[in-house]
């Protein structure tokens, strides 16, 4: 029903002997905002560069708007907006000069008024040179340049890294504005899970190059939960419940982190384990993400000495 605008199949990338991206399978449908999350160094930028044909995959394939990523034609590239990591633009150019440069590549697509309005909204002048802009201002300019050609597919690589809350909000507004136009799709990577929660339809989680989650945001948020159980004597040593991620033990209690376990299953297990009481706790997206991508032997880094 919905056309797939971004597709990868077993996408893999080795840097020498280091595995950066490990057999990623993605299918992003048209019309959604997809949040790409992962810890630092998880492989998000590598994956994005592979999708845009800036890197060549070691194995697997990637397709954007139906076209193979290693052979993206100029016509296809014209339909794809790309906000690069760090918003790196030509430092010696003025905003107006860069606008002229950009316009040459978009012919009828470029929305002059929209760009001018955005620059005015950001309180910038077209005469300013890129090198004289602060990081935040450069990000704003970068956003304006990405949105003015009205792209079908907008890919943003960590666009709000290091930026203040106001500018982050402007990026979200830009994304919402774009998605409301017919048939647009947005893929953005971010560390700010609050932003992802706010605007995303779908979430993709990458951890150490491996795809850990690829579903609607609602499914992800419903799937990861915590169950707190209390026991009369001591908690059972073994936890053999479906979807078990990890647990934290206290004297007479157990805090379980679970993925995809139904409430009924939890109730059943609690009963069979002899729990006195249990409750299922809601988690916010940030906690869910942290628990989901925590290492297998989930321990705290610091432990205070008891005196």
């Amino acid at each position: 029903m919905n056309e797939i605008v971004l597709e990868t199949k077993a996408l893999t990338k080795y840097y020498g002997s280091t595995l950066a991206v490990d057999h990623i399978d993605l299918k992003i449908p048209r019309g959604c905002i997809c949040g790409f999350v992962g810890r630092n160094g998880a492989g998000k930028t590598t994956a994005i560069k592979l999708m845009l044909g800036l890197l060549r995959p070691t194995a697997g394939l990637s397709r954007l708007l139906g076209c193979d990523s290693s052979a993206l034609t100029p016509a296809i590239r014209q339909r794809i907006g790309y906000v690069t990591e760090g918003h790196r633009l030509f430092r010696w150019m003025s905003i107006g000069g860069l606008e002229k440069f950009q316009r040459a590549f978009f012919a009828k697509q470029w929305d002059d008024k929209f760009f001018a309005d955005m620059i005015e909204y950001f309180e910038l002048s077209k005469k300013q040179k890129i090198k004289h802009l602060s990081n935040g201002q450069r990000a704003q300019v970068s956003l304006a340049f990405a949105l003015a050609p009205n792209p079908e597919l907008l890919i943003m690589d960590d666009p709000t890294l290091g930026l203040d809350a106001a500018i982050r909000r402007q990026f979200l507004e830009g994304m919402i504005e774009l998605i409301m136009r017919q048939g647009r799709t947005v893929l953005f990577s971010s560390h700010i899970l609050g932003d992802v929660e706010r605007v995303s339809d779908r979430i993709v989680v990458i951890d150490k190059g491996v795809l850990r989650a690829n579903c609607s945001l609602e499914q992800f948020q419903k799937a990861i939960k915590k169950a707190i159980l209390s026991f009369a004597d001591s908690a059972p040593d073994e936890v053999n419940i479906d979807g078990f991620l990890h647990c934290k033990r206290s004297e007479k209690g157990l805090e379980l982190t679970l993925v995809g376990t139904d409430d009924e299953e939890i109730a059943e297990w609690a009963k069979s384990a002899g729990a006195e009481n249990y409750r299922i706790v809601k988690m916010n997206l940030e906690d869910q993400f942290i628990e989901f991508t925590a290492p297998a032997n989930h321990r705290r880094l610091f432990q205070w000495e008891e005196r």
């Binding site: 845009l52 800036l54 100029p74 690069t84 790196r88 030509f90």
Partner: protein
């Protein structure tokens, strides 16, 4: 329209170096030219009378422009190095490759724009000044003996060697080799070509070496640029 936008951008980036090279050649080239006029007569007449046979082609701007010539050579190589660095090394540091490469043009077009800009820059910055210096040197009141066409051609040979230096620098800049010894392959190759050119016996030999080496360098550059990862 897209190519001209790229070309304009590349030329604008070369502009300061282009102007600097032209001005330096004009000022210092002119200075050396004036200096040489004082020594010209002694040197020339004594050589001719000795009847020595020049057994190989020497790019020494004999009988005149002995200082101006080498100065043009240095500037040309220098300009080539700087342009190569500006177009192919600097984008790595400013991290602007991803932005440029995502423009809606083929990679070939991007590279062609860069090469065209460098060619134009080398030719129009040093070419007119060289023509001017040669013309001035040819005027009867400057040197008693008129300049030979050979001297004029030699100037252009030096400008072409500047392009060789540019291509070598470009190739080095594009190299994905990690270790610095292999990365400078392009520069080493350019140096070898230049030395080979300067030691040729005939004018035909010189042009052959330059033509073949530019062709080889261009093929390598295109291949590397199109395949490379950013």
């Amino acid at each position: 329209m897209r190519f001209s936008a790229l070309l304009r951008k590349e030329l604008r980036e070369c502009l300061p170096w282009l102007l600097l090279a032209a001005i330096v050649l004009l000022v210092f080239g002119g200075f050396f030219l004036r200096a040489e006029t004082y020594y010209e007569s002694d040197r020339h007449y004594s050589r001719l009378s000795a009847g020595t046979v020049v057994d190989h082609y020497q790019l020494t701007f004999y009988p005149t422009l002995n200082l101006t010539g080498p100065w043009l050579f240095c500037l040309s190589i220098g300009l080539g190095l700087v342009l190569g660095i500006r177009q192919f090394w600097i984008p790595h540091f400013t991290r602007t490759w991803p932005f440029l490469l995502h423009r809606s043009v083929s990679r070939k077009t991007i590279l062609t724009a860069k090469l065209t800009a460098a060619l134009v820059a080398c030719v129009i910055s040093l070419g007119p000044v060289w023509i001017g210096l040669y013309w001035y040197a040819n005027r009867p009141e400057v040197f008693a003996i008129p300049q030979t066409p050979r001297v004029f051609i030699e100037g252009w040979i030096f400008i072409m060697l500047g392009l060789v230096a540019y291509l070598g620098t470009a190739l080095s800049g594009l190299s994905t080799a990690n270790w610095y010894t292999t990365k400078i392959f392009g520069l080493v190759l350019a140096t070898i070509i230049i030395v080979t050119t300067l030691s040729q016996c005939t004018l035909a030999g010189i042009f052959a070496v330059i033509a073949v080496s530019i062709a080889i360098l261009l093929v390598q550059i295109f291949d590397t640029f199109l395949r490379r990862e950013y």
